[in-house]
């Protein structure tokens, strides 16, 4: 108490807020420790404060040790002896000295620019610490430049350390208080593994997060609603799950290999004969029947000479299918002036060739006719000729050009109607879907053999587990029965040792299976999980069972 009073008296003349903080901490710590009497249990708030102060002092310790080490290296032998004498003091005095050193650091921070003023309190503090009344002037002169150097060197260290510590502490403590976790207040990443074990009072704990071993994500919904009226029984639910968890077998491989037969869908059959069974009640159906009937007619009919208004709403005047499709294949060209000449030249050429053929025909029939007469005869020729003759002539011309081959064209195989167009689009879509499905099936086929092998491994492990379990239960039952009787130790030990080799062999077999085969499957599954070439971007969630080896 007297030493504490002296320290307080010494600190009074240099009252600075940062110094005041440390003083306040130390005073609160001493007051709290004094208030706690051995007979009375302290309150929770008092314990919290004690723990907080202890943690602060522990965190202050390394910087003090560093400070002492630096000063020890730089001061002369006389100063070293002084520090040694100070170290010989009791632990309480050491704590006091550390606190005083922190005060000096604060003083240095506050009075950076005024070095002359900082020297005098430092000297006075050094005198007080060493408890030597007099120091020669020569020593003062020698120490002052070194003190200046130490001040310059240490200007950065305490500032950074304190800023980080204070901000971290405040933020951390606020969060920990809100969560209400006392352990998280004490134990954090700054502690080592050994320190954590001591603080948590455990012998060992996992170094990685074990959240992945639990299925599903924790639920934070509101479950205060009532139970639904008609619930599904658990047996019904589990029976519905059986198809999902059945074992793989060869039928699954055959199913994936077979796929879906879509070859018959890719051909478009020829157009059949007309459909007679439409009812005549509706006029539209009659018209449909007529249109279907006429749709199958391939011959041209009628002529342009008798073309009148009534023919525009009937189908009696028609070209042949070849002429119609040739007319339909013309593409309109809405070009500008620069490109007008080209198509016009082409049209002119075609006209010339056609007129040439016309001339040859007319020349063979009539001789000695003037050019005016020629023009006059061409127009009546077109008008008088029937459309069927034009169709035949067109076919003949195309055959000469080599576009058409000999023989009549089978127009029942044409595919330019609406149903054919729909068939083509559906077939294209079917091909895309079929290819995609095949890729998926191939990806599954690659995964399946490993899964079946792992399945066999699990079956073997299950059998071994059941045998060991049965032996264990049987052994326990026999031991319980024997304990009821009065049996000597010899007989008991012989009985237990007698039944142990059987279990021992089973346990050895199990550990051998685990040791030799489980890493094999883990490696394969790990490699499979990381494969980027999967079509699905498969993220198989089949986690391997983590068998821990027996001790």
């Amino acid at each position: 108490m007297s030493s504490e009073q002296q320290n307080e008296a010494d600190s009074k003349p240099a009252v600075i807020p940062q110094c005041f903080k440390i003083e306040n901490q130390y005073e609160t710590f001493s007051r709290l420790s004094e208030t706690s009497t051995p007979g009375v249990v302290p309150s929770v708030s008092t314990l919290w404060r004690l723990l907080f102060e202890l943690q602060k002092m522990i965190e202050c310790e390394p910087s003090c040790v560093e400070y002492f080490r630096q000063r020890k290296e730089e001061l002369e032998s006389h100063v070293d002896s002084e520090i040694e004498t100070s170290k010989d003091e009791s632990s309480v005095n050491k704590v006091e000295e550390k606190v005083e050193e922190f005060k000096e650091d604060n003083v240095e921070q506050e009075i950076k620019q005024k070095r002359s003023l900082s020297e005098s309190p430092q000297e006075s503090m050094l005198e007080k610490v060493s408890k030597k009344p007099k120091v020669s002037e020569a020593h003062n002169e020698e120490i002052s430049p070194e003190n200046v150097e130490t001040i310059e060197n240490e200007l950065d260290l305490p500032v950074k350390g304190k800023d980080e510590q204070t901000t971290g502490l405040v933020y951390k403590n606020a969060n920990d208080l809100l969560t209400g976790s006392l352990l998280s207040f004490i134990v954090d990443d700054s502690f080592s593994y050994e320190q954590k074990k001591k603080l948590l009072c455990v012998d060992s704990f996992p170094t990685s997060d074990v959240r992945s071993l639990v299925a599903g994500t924790p639920a934070t919904d509101d479950f205060s609603h009532n139970k639904p009226n008609n619930q599904i029984s658990i047996s019904t639910f589990y029976s519905s799950l059986d198809p999902y968890f059945r074992a793989f077998n060869d039928d699954d491989i055959a199913f994936l290999k077979k796929g879906f037969d879509v070859s018959s869908s890719y051909n478009i059959p020829p157009l059949g004969e007309r459909y007679y069974d439409l009812t005549p009640e509706d006029e539209m159906t009659n018209l449909c029947a007529n249109s279907i009937y006429q749709n199958l007619q391939t011959s041209a009919q009628g002529s342009l000479e008798a073309f009148n208004e009534a023919d525009t709403v009937s189908e009696e005047v028609r070209c042949g299918p070849l002429t119609e499709r040739l007319m339909a294949s013309l593409i309109p060209c809405y070009t500008q002036n620069d490109e007008e000449q080209k198509p016009s030249i082409a049209v002119g050429e075609f006209a010339e060739t056609d007129s040439g053929s016309e001339k040859s025909k007319i020349g063979t029939s009539i001789d000695g006719i003037e050019s005016g007469n020629n023009e006059y005869t061409e127009q009546p020729d077109i008008q008088e000729s029937s459309l069927s003759i034009c169709e035949d002539r067109l076919r003949y011309t195309l055959k000469q050009l080599g576009i058409l081959y000999d023989g009549d064209v089978d127009w029942s195989k044409r595919q330019d109607d609406e149903i054919s167009a729909t068939l083509r689009s559906l077939n294209a879509r079917l091909k895309v879907v079929s290819d995609e499905n095949e890729k998926m099936r191939n990806a599954l086929l690659q995964m399946l053999p490993e899964e079946m092998a792992f399945q066999e491994f699990q079956n073997v492990m299950d059998d071994l587990d059941k045998q060991i379990e049965q032996a264990y239960v049987k052994r326990n039952r026999s031991l319980k029965v024997k304990k009821k009787r009065i049996v000597t130790d010899k007989i008991g030990s012989s009985a237990t040792s007698g039944s142990f080799p059987v279990i021992k062999s089973l346990m050895d077999k199990r550990s051998m299976w685990l040791e030799k085969l489980q890493p094999l499957f883990q490696d394969k599954l790990t490699q499979h999980l990381g494969s980027p070439t999967s079509i699905f971007n498969d993220l198989s969630d089949h986690t391997t069972s983590n068998y821990s080896t027996s001790v």
């Binding site: 699954d252 879907v433 499905n437 899964e451 699905f536």
Partner: protein, 437 residues
């Protein structure tokens, strides 16, 4: 609910929130101002006894808007009701404080202070108590207490799910997979014997614990599959399966085993590709049948399907009733009618075409959209239009002089001149009819 309550020992009035007098000699004897003024005496108390004036703590110390009495109430409430329970703390403090104000004030004053867990230095300068009291009175008058929500009784029913025995809050089932895995473990205990037989026993027990752990892992893997594919939504899954056809249902059951190798979206993609193949194959087979029947438009195909359904139903019904046979006979008679109607229509003059009739005409697919619009406008059927097109283009090609509009009109003397001119303009714009150079 202040921590301490004071009552006047004479008139029993509550003097907690007002200045009162406390006797120095008597034990725990308080007086209100009126009783003290009147010189009341009771028991051993006498007006001549020395007294002490007790003042309320209603002045700010840390924050301009929080009095010392409120600070004490806040700390006491935090200690008794628990940190974080700000609603109850605000109710305890009273003085028109909301839970947000209490939380913010506590964090700012005590948590974020430099002297944590104590508050910082007090307010500098003199305190205007009159202004503080006025602000407090105004705040109390303007305060509206939050609506009291009647608390429903929270019954503990963890199995509140459509599947009986499943606890959604704990993600657990009443009956787990391998539910009897705990039976061998429940009676196990470890003794501190160092005999050889005890070591064997220890080894056996540890093996049993490892077996139990492997079963727990197996259980977790199975449950993970249930969660990934959302199999707990049992009613929806069953309704979807009922909606499927028999073929689709069998196919789905075959693919269910692969669900645990895939994620939820991947499995859905896999199953949907199968269903799409089935649907496309069925549609394609229908279209193939329509084509074999000689149909060329989808509209005809739909009518064909309806007629086929009607015939099927009629043939079913006619098997058991004689009346239905008569209907079938009459139906057979009517099937021959189209020929007669067709012959009659040749004699009777044609009706003007309607847009509906035009849409059902033949060879419409050979025309482009512009041509279809022109035909619909001019009331010309596709086949005559193609003949007209052939005639005009041929005349234009065979003519040596430029093919004019008047020539087109002269070529078709029996047609409406307006129609021929519009058709000529259409072809001229498409440059199918042009002047040779």
């Amino acid at each position: 609910m202040p921590p301490q309550k004071y009552h006047c020992n004479v008139c029993a009035q509550d003097i907690t929130r007002s200045i009162h007098i406390r006797c120095v000699e008597c034990v725990d004897f308080d007086l209100c101002i009126p009783c003290f003024t009147s010189g009341a005496s009771l028991g051993t108390h006498h007006p001549s006894h020395p007294y002490r004036i007790i003042e309320t703590n209603s002045y700010p110390i840390f924050d301009e808007n929080w009095g010392a009495d409120e600070e004490l109430l806040l700390i006491d409430a935090c200690e008794t009701l628990g940190l974080g329970n700000w609603a109850d703390i605000a109710d305890y403090v009273g003085n028109a404080r909301t839970k947000e104000e209490c939380r913010d004030h506590y964090l700012k004053t005590y948590i974020e202070s430099d002297c944590y867990p104590l508050a910082s230095v007090e307010l500098p300068g003199p305190v205007d108590r009159i202004a503080f009291a006025a602000r407090k009175r105004a705040r109390i008058e303007a305060f509206q207490p939050p609506p009291i929500i009647p608390q429903k009784p929270l019954a503990s029913t963890p199995q509140c799910h459509e599947i009986q025995g499943y606890m959604p809050g704990r993600l657990e089932f009443d009956q787990e997979y391998m539910n009897e895995a705990e039976l061998p473990i429940k009676d196990m205990n470890f003794d501190d014997d160092l005999h050889e037989s005890a070591k064997h026993e220890m080894q056996l027990k540890l093996t049993m614990l490892n077996i139990y752990n492997s079963r727990l892992t197996r259980r977790a893997v199975r449950k993970q599959t249930i969660f990934n594919h959302n199999l707990l939504d049992y009613r929806r899954l069953q309704a979807n399966e009922k909606r499927m056809s028999k073929e689709e249902r069998n196919l789905l059951n075959k693919t269910k085993a692969f669900a645990r190798l895939l994620t939820g979206p991947d499995y859905q993609k896999f199953v949907n590709s199968y269903h799409e193949q089935i649907t496309l194959k069925k549609q394609i087979s229908d279209l193939q049948e329509w084509r074999q029947m000689g149909l060329t438009t989808l509209e005809q195909g739909h009518k064909y399907e309806r007629d086929k359904t009607q015939k099927f139903l009629l043939s079913k019904a006619s098997a058991s009733y004689d009346k239905q046979l008569r209907h079938v006979k009459s139906f057979n008679q009517t099937t021959s009618a189209p020929f007669q109607v067709r012959d009659i229509q040749k004699i009777v003059p044609r009706k003007p075409a309607t847009p509906t009739m035009f849409s059902a005409s033949a060879d419409r697919q050979l025309l482009s959209e512009d041509e279809q619009a022109l035909c619909s406008k001019l009331q010309i059927f596709p086949k005559p239009f193609l003949a007209l097109k052939f005639a005009l283009i041929s005349a234009s090609l065979t003519s040596k002089k430029p093919f004019q509009k008047t020539d087109a009109v002269n070529l078709f003397k029996h047609l409406d001149a307006n129609k021929v001119e519009q058709v000529y303009d259409f072809f001229h714009n498409a440059r199918w009819i042009g002047a040779p150079t």
